[in-house]
């Protein structure tokens, strides 16, 4: 090798190394970035999923379960956010509940980062921002933007095809890292199957009445802006949908959970436990394919010219105008619909009622913004701040 060639190769290797560090370092920082949640007055206990299934203990997949137990016994509900960590409306809704809710009757189990590994992951090829920040009265609160699936750093290799347990339905190989395809979970399965198994154990051991899984979906997806429920949950879902429309003025239509599509929370929780499952979808323009740049602004305000043009051509499944579909509406919907499902269930089953106070509803969140409901971790007692 001539001296010139050797020099060229060394310089190229050095440039490559600098480039790799400059590009890789932000990804490492993202994985290590802690999101802070301040425990509100209603939090009575903090558990982890591994308390219900010890095999998860010490793994990245293990995640916090915040317990808000009322003074009076009653029913129990589980609410999960970040099943898909690129749909963080669920995380924000659950975090607002953790920081503000007070339960008077019954018990609330709140999991803000259901697929924690996915929240530490990014989405190669999709150009997402690594973080998004929300304005609060005390400054900016920053969250990690995650991926739909768990990180391959935490669960790898993938099979060439994913065969769902126990129904043996074949699904895309990627879905083995998707915690909304691995229900009802498998005791000896892969980490994400164990996450859903642990959640099923929580539901079974604690005799939970309701499970609400918070999601977001594209405006071009028919199953958006809706409540997905199986037959056994449909009556409560119908009442909740009608009530939010008449009392709070927003649409949230019903979709029935398909029997042939396996692995989803709204199907398997109902089939494999006594719990009534619900899956809520809020429209997230950021997730749509035909949008402009994938920026933090698009995620927050949901305003996009391409989608507006497609809405005028009647190609979206939700009403869409210049105001977009801002985060406040999405989080507000999730909170109101969750509260309404719990209220309707409580009315129908008074002995298992769950009474929750201090959680804002749709109109309040739209008026005040999402950040209004977050507390400053710097001013909170140390042991009340959970970093996850």
């Amino acid at each position: 090798m001539s001296r010139t060639t050797a020099r060229f190769k060394i310089i190229t290797a050095l440039i490559f190394l600098i480039f790799l560090i400059a590009g890789g370092w932000p990804l490492k920082k993202h994985r290590d970035f802690p999101v802070e949640i301040v425990c509100g007055p209603g939090v009575t206990d903090i558990k982890k999923l591994s308390d219900f299934f010890p095999a998860l203990k010490g793994s990245v997949a293990d995640t916090y379960v915040f317990v808000l137990e009322g003074k009076e016994p009653g029913g129990k509900a589980l609410i999960m956010g970040n099943t898909h960590a690129n749909e963080p409306e669920g995380l924000l809704s659950v975090a607002i509940m953790i920081e503000n809710a007070v339960v008077e009757k019954g018990t609330l189990y709140l999991i803000p980062f259901f697929n924690r590994s996915a929240s530490l992951n990014t989405r190669p090829g999709e150009g997402y921002p690594l973080y998004f920040s929300i304005t609060t009265p005390w400054g900016k609160k920053t969250f990690r933007m995650g991926n739909r699936d768990a990180s391959p750093l935490d669960q790898w290799p993938d099979p060439d095809i994913y065969i769902h347990y126990p129904e043996k339905q074949m699904l895309s190989y990627l879905d083995i890292r998707n915690t909304n395809r691995t229900w009802p979970g498998r005791k000896n399965g892969l980490p994400m199957e164990q996450v859903t198994y642990a959640a099923m154990e929580l539901l079974r051991q604690e005799k939970v009445d309701l499970a609400i899984d918070l999601h977001g979906a594209e405006t071009m997806f028919p199953v958006t802006n809706c409540i997905v429920a199986p037959e056994k949950s449909m009556r409560i879902a119908t009442l909740a949908s009608l009530t939010v429309k008449s009392m709070e003025g927003f649409e949230n239509h019903l979709e029935s959970s398909p029997e042939k599509f396996r692995g989803l929370s709204h199907r398997e929780i109902g089939d494999y436990s006594e719990t009534l499952p619900f899956l809520l979808e809020a429209p997230i323009p950021f997730l749509d394919q035909p949008t402009g740049p994938k920026t933090e602004k698009l995620f927050l305000d949901g305003q996009d010219e391409f989608l507006l043009s497609l809405a005028k051509r009647k190609k979206l499944f939700v009403p869409y105008d210049e105001s977009g579909w801002p985060l406040e509406k999405r989080v507000g919907q999730h909170l109101s619909v969750s509260l309404e499902i719990i209220r309707q269930y409580s009315r129908k089953t008074p002995a298992r009622a769950i009474i929750i106070k201090n959680v804002p509803r749709y109109a309040e969140v739209v008026r005040n913004g999402v950040g209004y409901y977050f507390h400053n971790p710097a001013e909170a007692e140390m042991d009340k701040v959970i970093k996850h």
Partner: protein, 434 residues
Amino acid sequence: MLGQTLFISSVIILAYALAKWRKLSVELSMFIAAVAGALAGAIFKTPALLEIPRHLVEGAFTYLDVILVFFTATLFITIVQESSGVNFAVRSAVVHFARTRFLALFLLMIIVLIPGALTGAGSVSLLVVGAPVALALRGLGVSENKIPAILFILAGLAAAAPPVNIWAMVLCAGTAIPYVGFELPLGIPVIILGTLTILILGRRQVETGSLQEFLDKIEINPGMNWFRLLTPFIVFFGLVIAYRLFPFYFPILGLPLEFLIASAVAYFLSPVKLNLIRVASSTISKLLPLLATMVIVGMLQQIMAASGVKGLISYAVLIIPLGLLFFLLPFIIPVSEGVLTYGGAAIIGIPLVWYLNSLGYHATIVISGLSLLWPLGDGLPPTALIGRLSVMISGYKGSYWQFLKQTWIPWIIITLAGIFMILFSSKLSFLVTG
């Protein structure tokens, strides 16, 4: 926003064209296009200047799993080749089937279809059985310029064949449609179109010298036998099938490890002493352009998404009037695959399926029809993954365009089949079972 994204798109296209004009390789040209697009995007902070390295590095990992499969599968077949297993297989096949030519061609078609059908990757078909099949086709008198064309079309159909079709799975995952009932809508067209392909491209027998002359050219190590040849393949397919038969008891190894295990078996059974380091190095050298393409396509996709160009492509497809859309699908779908590989299914396919489904078209049949069109794009630049593999594996000496020209008749037949399936999806819904 339209002006901004059009400007960035123009910069990407211009940078690619300039790089090609300066006679840079496809990989370097695409890399330059990605960097130029990122810098043009930085004018509007989409992405911000300091974010560019992160986007490029993150994008580079988009197809890491595919890259691992490519490398390990090629390593496997190279070991089999160097141990003279490939020559042994071809010699035996040609000797046995030379008199019943159509049956031989049909069997070769099935052999190419199986690995791709099981894994969803036409590349696996080519990497595992492409080289011996190419030699066997030569032995059966198929002309040199038709062999890569046959391999390309069959590898594409193999990827589309059930039970594993990645495009359909991407679309099902994105549209929340269960991946069930695809066996007949995918299986029937694949078998019919595969048979037509071998009939059209392989029917004419050219003079390749006497059979004995051809057989004499194939050197075989005397120690090679059926046991040594078949055991590594049986191990590989055994591992693939074992997970399907016992999904909850058999450990998940992943395709790369399955190929490595099969490689180890082939290495230990080889009658020739092989230098593993040399074989691995030559495999990397052979595959480097392809692997580089996969890395850079991921980078380009990431920049296109961050800058809005990806969204613009999807938007442009969706605003096309329906009649014109059907007319343009034979161009749009393969081109999207050529530029974005599986990304095309997500960017264009998902909104398209929702749109057509809302108009009453049957989603499963529409996805099946589209799945026939996407593999054709694997022969189109800039990526041309399967096309380039077909050329590489068959040892074709002509230009890439000459190879591609040979595929035109099956290309048109497959396109028509795909489009008819979409247009008459409701009438074909009886094919969907389960």
